[in-house]
């Protein structure tokens, strides 16, 4: 029995196979409508994340399965002090597969140790969110037609942005990848992420504080939010916040086939005027999230 806790739990071949299944689902959705008939997915959301939960539930419904679960801890026994281990021991008796989100880092590892059914990590605090990364990879491969030979710019909060760390970990396993790390000094990529996933593999990268300088060389631009609470003082925040907002003016310098991604929800880091630009792929990205989750559910349930 397999779980998905961290994107690196999957090999490159397995990720490529999931992408192939997702592409097949998009092309022939009718072939998959009965695949999970009589199967149940439990969505255990110890902290709310409506988008991710709906994506999982829609995925299971499109496979002909059913869903049950809770969407915040206050409506579940965990608010009465029940441990993650006990909750999982009970729920794994009801469901065939569990997608869980929890505010504490490592909670899905505790769950997986207790569970008799596969566990999917739907986000554990600021730590991992592997189905977001699978969504990012499916989007890149559909938009660009490949996952190798790409210059990938990641922009904004690279220090706390878990989606960025996972994307770098996953993409660094493909050939011909170059990273451009765009952030204020205060929110630079942590050294261990750089050491483990970029330097150890001899991948070329550059660091810059300027989105304007970097944008022209990118094939992919992955935007994240720069949050006020990450700054020590208001002055730095005000000075920096506008330099990491993507606007039509900044895009003048960009390649014609740039692919702009964002894990959503956005606040103001991508101006809504960019939405109508053909290079804006973030809503498409959100839609693809459902298909890659369908492929993942099939894999973990070992449905042919």
């Amino acid at each position: 029995m397999r779980n998905l806790i961290d994107i690196l739990d999957l090999s490159v071949d397995e990720i490529n196979a999931l992408i192939a299944v997702a592409n097949d689902i998009i092309a022939h959705p009718e072939m998959y409508r009965e695949k999970c008939r009589y199967k149940k997915l439990a969505t255990l959301f110890f902290e709310p994340s409506t988008r991710t939960r709906l994506s999982f539930e829609a995925a299971m419904m499109e496979l002909g399965g059913n869903v049950l679960g809770f969407s915040e801890a206050s409506s579940s026994s965990s608010s009465k002090g029940e441990s993650v281990a006990d909750t999982i021991a009970v729920v794994s008796g009801y469901a065939d597969i569990i997608a869980m989100r929890h505010p504490k880092e490592g909670a899905p590892i505790v769950a997986a140790a207790k569970s008799s059914v596969p566990i999917i990590n739907a986000g554990d605090g600021g730590h991992h969110h592997p189905t977001q990364t699978l969504t990012d990879l499916l989007t890149i491969s559909r938009v660009k037609g490949r996952l190798n030979d790409l210059t990938i710019g990641v922009c904004g909060d690279l220090k706390f942005g878990r989606t960025v760390h996972s994307l770098i970990a996953a993409m660094s396993r493909y050939e011909g990848i170059r990273f451009v790390l765009i952030s204020p000094e205060e929110l630079k990529l942590p050294r261990y992420v750089k050491e483990t996933h970029i330097k150890a593999k001899g991948i070329s990268y550059q660091q810059t504080e300027s989105l304007d300088e970097a944008i022209g060389m990118l094939d992919i631009l992955y935007m994240t939010r720069v949050q006020r609470e990450r700054f020590f003082n208001e002055e730095d925040y005000i000075r920096l916040k506008d330099s990491y907002i993507l606007t039509p003016e900044k895009l003048v310098q960009a390649k014609e086939d740039l692919c702009i991604l964002h894990p959503l929800p956005r606040v103001n880091e991508i101006s809504t005027a960019v939405d109508s630009d053909s290079r804006a792929c973030y809503f498409e990205q959100a839609r693809y999230g459902k298909f890659i989750r369908m492929a993942l559910i099939l894999k973990l349930l070992e449905v042919e």
């Binding site: 441990s83 504490k104 490592g106 909670a107 590892i109």
Partner: protein, 139 residues
């Protein structure tokens, strides 16, 4: 300085100077009834200076703790005045319930009856990370 040779017991040798006190604490040697000698800053041909601990009793000790606090330690088990077993201790791959994760966002901060597990992620630098949240342990 002279400390009597032990007949039956344990000699923990080649301890990084200054670390003997921490080992004494972590192994709970203060709770024993038998004599324990802690020698600090002893001249050593290999290390320049070293600490040594001699325990006048054959007790079970957690070798992982020793390896973590001071790698390259040696442990001699002495029986009837003879060294019966000599162990060379290196950094252990995994530490269970020796370190506590200090990350307040880690599941170990709230989940009851959970083992605190740390894994060696870089043997060169001796960095251990929490199994659950990947936070590096601080010595």
């Amino acid at each position: 300085m002279h400390v009597d040779e032990i007949k039956n017991g344990i000699v923990i040798d080649h301890i990084v100077p200054g670390k003997a006190k921490q080992i004494y604490e972590m192994l709970g040697l203060g709770r024993l009834n038998s004599p324990v000698a802690v020698l600090m800053n002893v001249p050593s041909s290999k290390m320049g200076r070293k600490d040594i601990i001699k325990i006048d009793e054959n007790i079970e000790i957690d070798l992982d703790v020793l390896g973590y606090i001071s790698p390259h330690i040696t442990v001699d088990i002495v029986k009837d005045g003879k060294v019966e077993d000599k162990k060379h201790i290196e950094l252990p791959e995994e530490l269970t319930d020796i370190l506590v994760c200090k990350n307040p966002r880690c599941i170990t901060s709230t989940e009851q009856e959970i083992h605190h597990v740390f894994r060696l992620t870089d043997r060169k630098t001796g960095v251990y990370r929490c199994l659950y949240c990947d936070t590096a342990a601080t010595k």
